[in-house]
Structures are given as C-alpha cells and as structure tokens.
C-alpha cells in the first residue's frame, strides 16, 4: 500500500499498538448496560415540562394568537409567543459553531410573528407542571390564520412573479462554476448524453427525538443540557436572548443519533426562553411527530447533466444544473448547495465544465443538514450518468470511470489540487469483486450489480477557518484525562480521543477518561458535523498528548541518562527500547515531572487549512481541506412482476486514510449501507401543499432488520489524510455512494435507469412498461 508518513519527532518511535485495531469503544458498556444518560433522562427538582405549538398551515398570516385560556389553566407556568420576544427576535441558523470566517447571518424567527411560512413553524411555547398539562395548554391556544397562497415547488418559486417567501427574491443561494472551454469540449464530443435526476426529502429519523433541559443556576448562568451535535450553540442562544456569551453553558449529553439533524439549533433557544421566563428548570422532549418538524430533512434536488463524451469514454465537456428546494428558511441551504456544486462531478476530472446551481425558497419544510450534505445527491446524478454513458458507448461502466477518475495532483471542480491519495479504482474494483458471482435470474426476478464511486470532503469549508482545541493531562497516579468539548453523537467520537491518547501515552484506552461536550469547561473542539470531529479533535488531542509525552520522556531521559528517541511508552510504563527491563512506571514518571516543575498536561489547538473563498464568477478556489474517496457496490434482485427490489449484497470499500478504531469504521460503513438503501428504496417524506403526510415512523419507513442484506466493509488505508495518523473523515463519505450503487444495480437488473428516487415498486413497474412500449 501507498504509505505517506511524516511523524512528528515526539512520536518518531511510535509503533501503533491501539490505533487501527478493532477495540471496544469506551462508550459501549454504559450504553449496553442501560446506564448511559441522554438529555431526556435528566431530571431536576422543580422541573417543568415544555411543549411547542407548531403551525398547521403552510402559508398564512397570523391574525391573532390568544393564549389567555392556556395561561389560565392550573399548572401552566408560562406561555410564550412572538409577542413576548423583542421585535428583532431570531436565532442564527448559519454555519453552527462558526468562529473564524464570515457568516451569511441567516436568521430564523424563534417563534412565528405575523406570518407562518411552513406547516410546522413554531408559534408558541408552554411550560407547565407536567407534560399532560402542557399538552392540554397547547389545545387551549386559539389561533386565527388567514391563509395565503403558498409555493411548493422550487421551479414555481423561481418563476417570474412568484410570491416572495422571504428576503428579496426566492433565490436562497446560487453558484457558478466556469472552467475550461465548454463549447470546444462539446464540439470535440462524439456523443452527448443528457439526463435529469431527482431526489426526495429524507428524514434523519434518529431514534432519540430532540430533548434538552435548561435552567438558570445560582451564578445566573443559563445552563442547557441537550442532545446536540454542537455545544458552540451557546453563543447563538446567548445572542438570541440577549445574554453575554459567558452566561450560557451548553452541555451535550450522549446523542441518540444526529446525522446532521441536531446540527442547527432548534429547541435549545426555546428552553432558554422558558427557563428565563419561569425561573424553573424546564425540559422538552419532542414527541416523534413534532420531531419531524423540529429539524430540517435532506434537500430534494433536481439535477441535469449534459455530458459530452468521446468514443473512448473520456468526458470532454460537462454542463450541470442543480436545483434544490430550501423550504421556508435558509438554514444551511447555501452551504449544502456549495457542497453539491463541488461534488457535482464526483471523483472525476472534468476540464471543460459549467455548473449552475440554485437553491429556492418555498413553503415546504426548511431542509437542512443531513449526512452527505448535498454531496451525496449530486454524486447520485454523476454516478447514474456514468452508467448511461457506458450504456451508450457499449463499454463497461468501470472502464468509463477509469478513463475519467481524478488522480492525486489533479485539480477538482473548483481548481483545488487534490493532495491526498485517490484510491477510487482500487476501492471500486474490490467492492465489485466482493459481490462475487451473480445468482441466475428466475422467471420473475432479475439480478443486477451496481457500483458507485464518490468524492466527499471532510472538514469544514476553508473560509470558516476551523480550529479545534483539546487538553490532555496525566494525574499523579498515572491515569490520563482528556478534555474536549467534542459532542459524542454515536460514532465513537469520545472513544477515539481515548484511543489516540492511550496510543501516544502508552495507556490502555479504557483507562483514559474523556470529559467531553461541555461548552463551558472543556476546550472547544468544534462541531461533530462535516466528518470533521475525528479529523479536528483527533488532531488536537494527538498534539496535546504528544506534547505531554515529550515532557514526560524528557524527564525520564534525564533519569536514565538516555536520549528521548531511545524511550517508548506502553502499558503505563516508560522503557528503554533496546533494554526494556529498564523501565519506570508512568505514575513515577509523573512524580519526576512534578518534582522538576514540568507540565504534565497540555492544551493544544489544531487549525485546518484556510482560504479566502471562491471566485463568484468562475467558482474557482480552495473550498475544503481534503476529500475522501471510495466506492460502494450492490447486488439486487428485482421482481419484474411486482417491482419489488431486494438488496442482496451491499459492499462498501473506502480509503479511510488510517482507521483509528477499525470496528467503529466498519460500523460506519455498515450503518451507511442501510441508511443509503433506505434513501434508494423506501424512505420519502411526502409533503402535500407543504403539509407532511408521513410524519411518523409507521409512515416514514426506515429499513428494518428484515431489510438487511449481506453487508461488508472493506477498509483501505493510504495514511494520506489530514487527520491523526493520516486518517481521513469517513462519517459522510461512506454514505455518499450507497444509494447510487443501488440505483445503478436496479438499472443493471431491468435494463432501464430510474432517474427519480426513491425507487419504489411502482416506479420499477412504470419503467418496465415504458421500456416495453418503446420496443
């Protein structure tokens, strides 16, 4: 394997003893024994229960909101509406946890004031003695609406004369990429292939609905303990309610699934208002139906690719149009559109390129962050188009891919030079090979194989100027502590820090305690989003641990009269590499340091590479720190009579740079295989005139145990990433190609591509009928 290493001096002798191994995550036992605490499990004396009234109209004027009957109900402590908030009320929904770079300053009303723009918009908050009274109070709030015409289609929203949802027009964001000479590229093409792909709303459907508890403490500090991916929201809460930043403390508990849905703030600010108004601790646990309304689902996209291709399968020109439905508020739509734009050509080098992308406001649910963040939708179109090109040319689609793959040293869509390894081919080849032989078709089933590659960024947009801090220290008894405000959203974020620290300091990982997720007392690590948590907080932790190691070893080197390079640490011992019998226990080593006044701890900051943005006319510039590459392959059986699709095998192969915890990496690949299958086949939030039709887990169908195919994760390690030990981000990347591979497998099975997700039995039958009628 292609190994690129440049270890720092303090870790020069490091042999990996824990990193890369399939170890038990430190958070596993507490979750399995049922002792892990989630935000909804917290209680406090005198705690009130909150409930939220959501609009049941998609587009209407709020003529009158009368809370008097609710307020009169015994046991109700406070009822808040927009009338109780300052006129400038609003909560920042721009890039969460943002520190260094510019923001677009997108704000959303905390509570709807004169107008509701989507069905589900919050209108009133209640805090009461118990949940039953709070619910009763909601029913006693009288609202007089005056319905307005709504817009429920992004293309209608962009048409001239369309009513404006918010701002100056319905364009929430747009990007242009202009690269090379597209006219020339099309002129050189032997064939031109044009197709339009569409994707649906996808709901995160984390098992734990939004939950948080807020109270004002004895120091007049507003405390919030929440299920969030971002503790840095404390700033946005403070700004929204007019408190200084140092008077809001946000702590993230174990998060029962996030996937982007707990990235932009929602319920924390509601609870902050209720806690301040009632002067009591207030808890909110959203019922499932309201959870569907409390975060943003994945954006539906319409994506047109017009590809010029030479007879030997080389892309000569590519013109792409992307349109996303942002819904009623901007939230992160501009950024998601940027990700889609950068990801629109997948892992392929395209020299002559036009991209025009736009995100439109409608009266639908505001869409927001979800694993893949626009890239995976864009990638789906790109990978579907590869199959269509191959079909037209009569070539193997992998061969078409090979002729166009981007390579290390090439410039991507925005002209950014790819510096890490690009193992798309190896990954795709291995994934496909692992599918093995095709079972034979039966009279009513057709077998299909499909593959999809991808390019997905990890780390935040460069002009966010991202950084992450971590603290590592050794106690006098030789035990180790990590402090990092990273949120643990289920992928093993805190465990990875224990493992990295254990590796560097030679301590078993389960003996490292990680204090995480406290916005006030742990060093801020940034968000668990953008596949950045391990990359950023892992690097910061590794830096801090390495400095502590250096300090400890310098004392021991003096003690033994050897050089630092002659020492190593393992099993809570420091020893001489060539003479391991000469060793000193870590706790004694710490005493040496203490006696000499040497720091046994370190606070480190890791900075991601930065840039100043992209050229608005050409879209050229450095957007992301780096990218992950890999592939997913699927084997499906399609019932040509009923249209049912059964996934038989689902194989992910990814260059993860360096696995930190191999088992956790495999877990990400396996989980994404099923989530992507859901997106491909059965998951669909259906809105009718803006109103959600599938607002429960019996109507919004995520895959069950009965839907699980044979899933396999293949982990490749180029050690070329920007993360600790050469790791790349994987949380989103491993998800990016799954749905496309299944869509391609279905196309392979039935000989016709279905361009509209999800691929329902109905669409399969329709496609087969159309194919039959064009014969």
């Amino acid at each position: 394997m292609n190994r690129i290493e440049s270890p720092a001096a303090s870790t020069a002798n490091l042999q990996l003893r824990q990193v890369g191994k399939p170890l038990v995550r430190t958070d596993s036992p507490t979750k399995v024994y049922g002792t892990a605490v989630y935000a909804g499990d917290l209680t406090m004396p005198g705690m009130l229960c909150a409930a939220v009234l959501h609009s049941d109209r998609a587009s209407a004027l709020l003529r009158h909101v009368d809370t008097s009957r609710a307020e009169a109900l015994a046991g109700v402590h406070c009822v808040l509406t927009a009338a109780d908030l300052p006129p400038s009320q609003g909560v920042m929904t721009d890039m969460p946890g943002q520190t260094g770079g510019l923001t677009k300053n997108t704000k959303q009303p905390i509570l709807a004031k004169d107008r509701v723009r989507f069905c589900g918009e919050p209108i009133a908050l209640v805090a009461a003695e118990n949940a039953a009274i709070a619910e009763q109070a909601l029913r006693l709030i009288d609202i007089e609406y005056e319905d307005l015409d709504g817009i429920y289609d992004p293309f209608d929203a962009l048409a001239p004369g369309a009513p404006i949802i918010f701002g100056d027009d319905n364009v929430v964001a747009s990007y242009k990429v202009r690269k090379g000479d597209i006219e020339k590229g099309f002129a050189e093409a032997d064939f031109i292939v044009e197709n339009t792909f569409t994707t649906q709303y996808q709901e995160q459907a984390f098992l734990e609905p939004e939950a948080a508890l807020a109270w004002v403490d004895e120091h007049e500090v507003l405390n919030i303990r929440s299920s969030t991916q971002v503790v840095e929201h404390y700033r946005a809460v403070a700004d929204a309610i007019g408190l200084p930043h140092n008077r809001v403390r946000l702590r993230a508990e174990f998060v029962g699934g996030g996937f982007g849905g707990k990235e932009v703030m929602t319920i924390e600010v509601w609870l902050a208002l209720l806690a301040l108004a009632s002067r009591r601790p207030v808890q909110l646990v959203q019922p499932r139906e309201r959870s569907f309304l409390s975060h943003g689902p994945r954006h539906p996209f319409t994506m047109t690719h017009r590809t010029g291709v030479s007879g030997d399968g080389k892309i000569t020109a590519l013109q792409i149009k992307l349109t996303s439905d942002a819904g009623a508020y901007a939230k992160l739509s501009p950024y998601i559109l940027l990700y889609a734009t950068v990801g629109a050509t997948g892992p392929y080098r395209v020299d002559n390129l036009h991209i025009d992308s736009v995100s439109a406001a409608t009266n639908n649910l505001p869409a927001c962050a979800f694993r893949g963040f626009g890239t995976m939708q864009a990638n789906l179109a790109c990978e579907g188009q590869m199959e269509e090109i191959a079909k037209l040319l009569g070539m193997d689609s992998m061969e078409v891919r090979r002729r166009n793959f981007i390579h290390t040293g090439d410039a991507n869509v925005t002209g950014q030079i790819i510096r890490s390894a690009v193992w798309s081919d190896q990954c795709a080849t291995q994934a496909l090979a692992t599918l093995g032989e095709r079972p034979t078709d039966t009279q009513t089933t057709r077998i299909g194989h499909g593959v999809a590659c991808y390019q997905q960024s990890y780390g935040r947009i460069r002009w966010m100027k991202d950084s992450s801090e971590a603290w590592v220290g050794v106690e006098m008894d030789g035990t180790v502590i990590v402090r990092s405000a990273v949120t643990d959203i289920g992928a093993g974020q805190s465990s990875a820090l224990a493992q990295i620290t254990g590796e560097i300091l030679g301590v078993p990982m389960d003996q490292v305690v990680v204090y995480f997720g406290d916005g006030a007392v742990t060093p801020l690590a940034g968000t668990s989003t953008a596949s950045r948590a391990l990359y950023m907080s892992g690097n910061a932790t590794k830096m801090a641990a390495s400095q502590v190691r250096k300090n400890l070893l310098s004392c021991v080197a003096g003690y033994f009269g050897v050089k630092i390079e002659q020492l190593d640490m393992c099993d809570s011992q420091v020893f001489i590499i060539d003479d391991p019998q000469r060793s000193i226990a870590l706790k004694d080593c710490v005493k040496l340091c203490a006696a000499e006044g040497v720091h046994r701890h370190n606070l480190a900051i890791f900075r991601a590479p930065t840039s100043e943005g992209i050229d608005p006319e050409t879209g050229q510039g450095e957007v992301f720190p780096d990218f992950t590459y890999g592939a997913h392959a699927a084997q499906v059986a399609v019932d040509i009579e009923t249209g049912e699709v059964k996934v038989l095998k689902s194989i992910g192969a990814h260059d993860v740079g360096q696995a930190i915890n191999l088992r956790a990496v495999e877990g990400q690949v396996e989980g994404s295989a099923l989530m992507g299958q859901g997106f491909a086949l059965c998951e669909e939030l259906i809105l009718k005139q803006g109103r959600l039709q599938t607002g429960s887990l019996s109507e919004y169908l995520i895959p069950t145990s009965e839907d699980v195919p044979e899933i396999k994760a293949i982990v490749l390690e180029s050690r070329s990433g920007l993360g600790p030990f050469g790791a790349k981000g994987i949380g989103e990347p491993v998800y990016a190609p799954v749905a496309a591979s299944i869509a391609n497998a279905v196309a392979d099975a039935i000989g016709v591509h279905i361009f509209e997700l999800p691929i329902t039995p109905e669409k399969v039958i329709k496609a087969l009928r159309e194919k039959e009628s064009t014969k």
Binding site: V32, Y33, L207, G257, R288
Partner: protein, 169 residues
C-alpha cells in the same frame, strides 16, 4: 380540565415487580408502562415514538417482550417487568450484553436497551436462532446507526455462549 375529564380520573394502586424489586404506584388508567417505568427512575427504557413503531421502549413483561409505550400500567399490575438493567450489569453481564459490547453493536446506543430485550426474548424462544429468526425477531426494533449487522452477530455469539453455559452447567 373539563368536568367530564375530572369525573373519570380514577386512579388505582398497581404493584409491579421491576427487575425483581417490588414497586407500588398509584396511576390513572391512561398512564403507560413506559411513563411509569421512567418515573420510577428506569431511564434505561427509552421513548422513541410512543406508538409501537420503533421498539426503543421494549421490556419483558412476565418474560414476554412488549412495547412499554403500548402497555397500560394497569395491565402490568401484579406482573414482573425486566429492563436491560435487570438483565445484568458490569458485575454480572448477561451474555447478550457482553456480546453487544465486544461486537460493537451499539453506536448512538438509544435503541440498544430495547434491542437487547427483544434479543433476550428471541433467545428464550429460539435458543439456536437462524439469521432469518433473528431478523424476524428484531423487525419491530429500529436502529438507524448500525445497519443491524453487528447486532445480528452479537446475538449469534450470545446464543453460542448460552449454549455452552447450558452444557457445562
């Protein structure tokens, strides 16, 4: 509350054994076992949908696995409830718990307590389950993180451990 509502508040004393401990509660008819267990401090019983779609609240009721959100507390009167904490803990882990830990079967962990209880009921019913049996046994327990594969392998491993314990005892 309206007069009609106040009239029918008829509370009842209910005795339930939870993880072997006798609990006495007084509740109205419409309180669910899920609500009561959580009020008793059994926060390991999770709430994900309150309508039987997700299985996060699964517990054993007299040995049978039920959605505690669809079980009225009154109907649990005189019966015995087992939650994941009653199955075992760090000092006396159940083979299912050991296997879930070793196989990395928990990611966010929110479905885990219900999942383990459904798995326990499955193994009580079918000590040597096929993969098909396992898939059927868990189809009411949603997991969004893992793709279920490590849950399946943990259950198979636990079944093997239990078989060995059986033969050596």
């Amino acid at each position: 509350m309206t007069d009609k509502e106040t009239q029918m508040i008829t509370e009842k004393r209910v005795d339930i054994q939870v993880n072997g401990q006798a609990c006495e509660i007084t509740v109205p008819a419409w309180r669910t076992l899920l609500e009561v267990l959580r009020e008793l401090g059994h926060k390991e019983v999770k709430c994900g949908c309150e309508k039987g779609d997700c299985g996060a609240c699964a517990v054993l009721l007299d040995g049978k696995v039920v959605d505690s959100c669809l079980t009225l507390a009154w109907n649990a009167a005189g019966r015995s409830v087992t939650t994941v904490q009653g199955l075992g803990g760090p000092d006396n882990p159940h083979p299912l718990q050991t296997a879930f830990i070793e196989h990395g079967s928990a990611q966010c962990g929110y479905c885990t307590p219900g999942m383990i209880m459904a798995a326990k009921a499955l193994l009580d019913d079918i000590p040597e389950p096929s993969l098909k049996d396992i898939k059927r046994g868990l189809s009411g327990n949603l997991c969004r993180c893992t793709g279920y594969t490590r849950i399946f392998s943990a259950i198979q491993a636990a079944a093997e451990t239990l078989r060995q314990q059986e033969t050596t005892s």
